[in-house]
Amino acid sequence: MKVTEIGIFASDKHLELPLTSIKIPCGTGFPSPADDYIEERLDLNKLLIEHPAATFYARVEGDSMIDAGIYHDDILIIDKAKEAKHQNVVVAWINGEFTVKTYYIDPRLGKLFLVPRNDKYPPQEVTPEMDFTIWGVVTYNIHKL
């Protein structure tokens, strides 16, 4: 352990101040006139993430969604706060694994499907006895060119 950090103890008294007494010279009552002109650099987080507390990521394996522009090794942005709707791309847990597919609700047949976007693979019907949950709705895909 380095001992240089002991210097922090010199400010002991300072640290013992109850927080309410911390002096903030530039209080919120007097916003700087420059504030109106401050433009922050564009932030991808703000663009891509609506619900930070509910947003998770997943790595794609395989080619079942290439017609939707989702390729092997891409990174999906998943928002669990969103309600999955017909034709959303979702990450689902089915029969012991995670999968990304298009969620297809057929009200006429009263059936649910997970539909790949690659002609090589057939749609899969979701039946009640399956171990199935929608884990989250995919909102964006990060694909390296």
Partner: protein, 419 residues
Amino acid sequence: MNKFALVDCNNFYVSCERAFNPSLNDKPVIVLSNNDGCAIARSEEAKRYIGMGAPIFKHMDIVKEQNIHLFSSNYTLYADMSHRVNEVLSQFSPNIEPYSIDESFLYLSSNRNIDLNQYGIEMRNKVLKWTGIPTSVGIGPTKTLAKIANKLAKKNKMCQGVLDITNHARMNDFLASVEVDDVWGVGWKYAKLLKRNGINTALDLRDANESWIKKKMTVQGLRTVLELKGTPCIELEETVQDKKQIVNSRSFGMDIDKYEDLSEAIASYACRAAEKLREQDSICSHISVWIKTNGFKDDPQYSKSISCRFPEPTSYTPLIIKYSLHLLKKIYKSGYKYKKAGVMLMDLVPAENTQFNLFIKINHSRNKKLMEAFDKINNSWGSQTIRCAASGFARPWTMKRNRISPMYTTDWNDIIRVN
């Protein structure tokens, strides 16, 4: 009437593992302490086989026989998930106090004319949907009663995870069903004393003679009695500390936007948390720091938490402060008005090394002198001539974490895989 809600994540560490690995649902799962030693979290399915705190190596037969899934504790993941849960909860009240890694108090002010039971159900559903973490919600006129309501909500299947105990017709039955040891703020020593005097349940305690209680249990005990009667004595952010983690978090009197001011706050929380840690003779291995803006204002919003592991378990104030500030620097963004910040120390183990007591219960001027002497010796004789006993000499702490799950939310290499 103002009320408190206590939201408690069910078997939190196990639920975090399950959130990213649904194959663990309905299976017995156990999360192990530091060094893969003891059971510190158990799924409902595992509770009948393995006791809380049981050293797992003694039970390997049953682990194999019952196919119990074991995990090393993944505090990086748990701290992040804890922060997410609190972020969702802060949509329900501007006043929220994270009390431990898996529990938070919410202050529900009286001017909301809403059915609180329904409100609790909404909270629970939203946290579950957004984060995947199941919770129980207890609501009451005091923090002590909210705690009890929470316990009952968890136990009683009929409640569906939510109970508002305020003016409940069955209040006496409820209180009679809670052992006095389980009342918030009653330590085991006092519980023994109370039981010797025929006070066995929360109901007995509520109806006990107040002056006798004050004589035997000081004003603290009296506060508990009053709280059981429905008179709030323990305000939000006034904490009766949990033993499993140490949390120090506060709302600021005014919004703070400067890094310097924020770092001063974080340093003071870290300092106090380290003191509490030593008061209970513990050392910790993980620290998490968070900052957030006021979600109930129209200003730009930002909320972030971050955690890391110490090189070895510690309760050494300067090191804890240093780490807390290092973490703050990583998450601080200028241009936001911060309303709240906090420090949490996790993964606590007893500080067995008695030499460590040097740093305990000495006043600050002496402490400072000691630190200065410490510094001097190390400067003239080379660093590490004297060092903190808690950091160990032989470093037996190359921690065993053989069964750790991926850092699903903090490492790009560890995010879930989908096909």
